[in-house]
């Protein structure tokens, strides 16, 4: 049975200018073999340090790293069968593209496990896989950013590792190229069936590619789950505001029914939410997460929230309205189709919450 990578209470302390800080503060995680798992969070949340500890480039202060059940915490970096793709590509500038890709194989050849002709064959095969078959004789400085990243990918994949680690690999590419490379990475993951562990601060990237996302903050994993789960059911306000464009309106539990509850907003308006599983008791303060795509304008109706249009932004695909709820109860954003009649600035509107998507945050 393959269990993939397991992190057990992994911690890493850094000391700088005399005071110590935990960069990674007790990470527990199981990354299934063959999965695409993303560590997501803002800079300084410990995601890169966690990845570097998995790679063996950093030594954990405490905790364990297991691979298929075996403890590899103290295994040197050179012996771990994991390849890393770096943010700055880290291509060897003195070597050609071919020599770069062949490097990992040549290192092995010195240990006598692969022939030179086999190396050539594999290098050609993997340059082809990343669409760089014609660029083998070039030096890295002659390539564009996207091409460099493909070389870096080929260099990592050519040695046939079970696990590939990515440290913000698309961070230095422009937006369009990033989208193309995302599709490329998903394709490679599907075709090669390797475990991908990916670090990014870009939530769109994480959502689009991952089987599971670990949202990190302050050296800890705040939530670990499938993208849809994290998007629809964030465990707290931090995750809710980090993933997607959620607006959180303060409210209070007004009543509990068998499988749902009613919330009272600060302006006294009530919102009924059937099918909500929450531990919050009557009277306790909660946050109501409202995503722009889950709100629709309605004619005045019972159960609707009232507000006023504060701003409208034309986004091309949709119109984004900024709506101020009555009496300072909060601000939400609403996406409206562009073929709908434009709502005037300052106009009073009524909003209906999609009960299936509304989410109550206790923390």
């Amino acid at each position: 049975m393959t269990t993939g990578i397991e992190l057990k209470n992994l911690r890493k302390m850094y000391e700088s200018h005399g005071h110590a800080a935990w960069a990674v503060d007790g990470v527990d995680m199981t990354i299934g073999a063959g999965k695409f798992v993303t560590l997501l969070g803002p800079s300084g949340c410990g995601k890169t340090t966690t990845l570097r500890m998995i790679a063996g480039l950093e030594i954990p202060t405490s905790g364990q790293i297991l691979r298929d059940g075996m403890d590899i915490t103290d295994q040197p970096v050179t012996d771990r069968d994991m390849r890393m793709v770096f943010q700055d590509f880290a291509l060897f500038p003195n070597m050609t593209v071919e020599e770069n890709v062949a490097f990992g194989l040549r290192v092995r050849r010195m240990k006598g496990s692969i022939s030179e002709s086999e190396i050539r064959k594999r290098v050609a095969q993997f340059l082809d896989l990343v669409h760089l078959a014609d660029h083998g004789q070039k030096k890295p400085h002659q390539l564009s950013g996207g091409q460099k990243q493909r070389v870096s990918l080929a260099r990592a994949l050519v040695t046939d590792p079970k696990v590939v680690l990515f440290d913000e690999p698309l961070g230095s590419l422009d937006a369009n190229l990033r989208k193309i490379m995302q599709i490329e990475l998903i394709r490679l993951h599907r075709e090669l069936g390797k475990t991908f562990i990916y670090v990014t601060h870009d939530q769109d990237e994480a959502m689009a590619m991952s089987d599971a996302i670990a949202v990190m903050s302050g050296g800890k994993v705040v939530q670990f789950g499938a993208p849809r789960e994290i998007y629809d059911r964030p465990v707290n306000r931090y995750v809710a505001s980090f993933i997607g464009h959620a607006h959180i309106v303060d409210a209070e539990v007004d009543g509990r029914e068998s499988d749902g509850l009613t919330l009272r907003l600060r302006n006294g308006e009530r919102v009924a939410l059937p099918h909500q599983n929450t531990s919050a008791g009557v009277g306790s303060p909660v946050g109501l997460m409202l995503r722009a795509e889950d709100l629709t304008f309605v004619d005045q109706a019972p159960g609707a929230i009232g507000g006023r249009i504060a701003d409208s932004l034309y986004r091309g695909e949709y119109i984004e309205y900024v709506v101020e709820l009555h009496e300072g109860a909060g601000v939400v954003h609403v996406h409206s189709r562009t073929d709908m009649p434009l709502v005037r600035h300052g106009a009073s509107v009524a909003l209906k919450v999609n009960p299936a998507k509304a989410h109550v945050l206790v923390h």
Partner: protein, 303 residues
């Protein structure tokens, strides 16, 4: 149509006068460097060449257009031989400096973590330059001499009975002193090159399974070649033209080309001959600099 032609014409005239103004300003700013270059470079070079083509008769300089002096440089003993010996001392100094400098530069670049420690070591490399060259050369005299620290130590621990005279007043002591004095240049140029290597390159190589020796041989050494070349050129040039070390720590046979020139100027009063040697050395220097520039360009790694 006419109005547009008029505008275009005026635009051209405007551009022309703007360009003229620019040229006048450029001339103004270029004047000091051009004057400096003329007074301190072109005129002395011209005088050197002019002197080398004349000869001395009865302690008086007679101008001329003869290449006799140049023929003498290549045919009469000991000029060419001394040039070769100076070059040999220069090459040995350059090689020794590189051998001493590389590990130090490597250590500062890759093994010293804190920026403060890096700066401190960097400073320690440069600090000897605050002391006069002469003082440093004299220091080696006291270290290597028969009553010097080295001999005293060797006798003290019983390795030798009397003072060893092999340490001082020969080519060995000249090369050693020159290496000591000029090594900082090699350290700095190699260090500057090593500093350009991002840590991620080394991490990537380790991640791909390479051991320390492979990383050094396949990545670090190839990238640092231009630094080694640049350092070697500087140390060679400085050692080649040196005249203090041979006088202070050299023996009767370790006369270098600059000493010959000094003797021709002061003792023999043969300025034209001295000038001819100067011209030959400058020509060799130009050749060397172009060759090394080409080599540096050729071996430079672009990131």
């Amino acid at each position: 149509m006419t109005s547009s032609a008029y505008v275009a014409g005026r635009g051209q005239a405007g551009a022309r006068s703007a360009r003229r103004l620019e040229r006048r300003r450029l001339l103004f700013w270029l004047l000091p460097p051009v004057a400096w270059f003329t007074v301190f470079m072109l005129i002395p070079y011209g005088m050197l060449l002019y002197t080398s083509l004349g000869h001395v008769d009865d302690m008086r300089f007679i101008p001329g257009l003869s290449i006799d002096n140049f023929i003498r440089v290549f045919t009469v003993d000991p000029y060419l031989g001394v040039i070769f010996k100076s070059a040999r001392i220069g090459v040995m100094t350059a090689i020794l400096s590189a051998i001493v400098a590389y590990p130090l530069a490597f250590y500062i670049a890759f093994h010293v973590r804190s920026a403060r420690a890096k700066f401190l070591l960097y400073l320690l490399v440069i600090v000897p330059w605050w002391a006069s060259y002469l003082v440093k050369a004299y220091a080696w005299k006291t270290i290597l001499g028969s009553g010097g620290i080295l001999n005293a130590t060797l006798q003290g621990i019983g390795l030798t009975d009397g003072p060893v005279r092999l340490f001082l007043y020969n080519e060995f002591s000249v090369v050693l002193t020159l290496t000591y004095i000029f090594t900082p240049f090699a350290v700095l140029s190699i260090y500057a090159q090593l500093e350009r290597i991002p840590t991620s390159l080394i991490e990537a190589a380790r991640n791909l399974g390479a051991d320390g020796w492979t990383i050094f041989r396949r990545i670090i050494l190839p990238i640092s070649v231009p630094g080694i070349v640049a350092g070697a050129i500087i140390t060679f040039s400085l050692a080649f033209g040196d005249f203090v070390a041979p006088v202070l720590v050299g023996g009767p046979d370790s006369v270098m080309i600059s000493n010959v020139v000094i003797n021709l100027l002061g003792v023999a009063f043969d300025w034209p001959m001295a000038a001819a040697i100067g011209v030959v050395i400058i020509a060799l220097g130009l050749l060397l600099i172009s060759a090394s520039g080409w080599l540096e360009e050729k071996t430079q790694t672009r990131f």
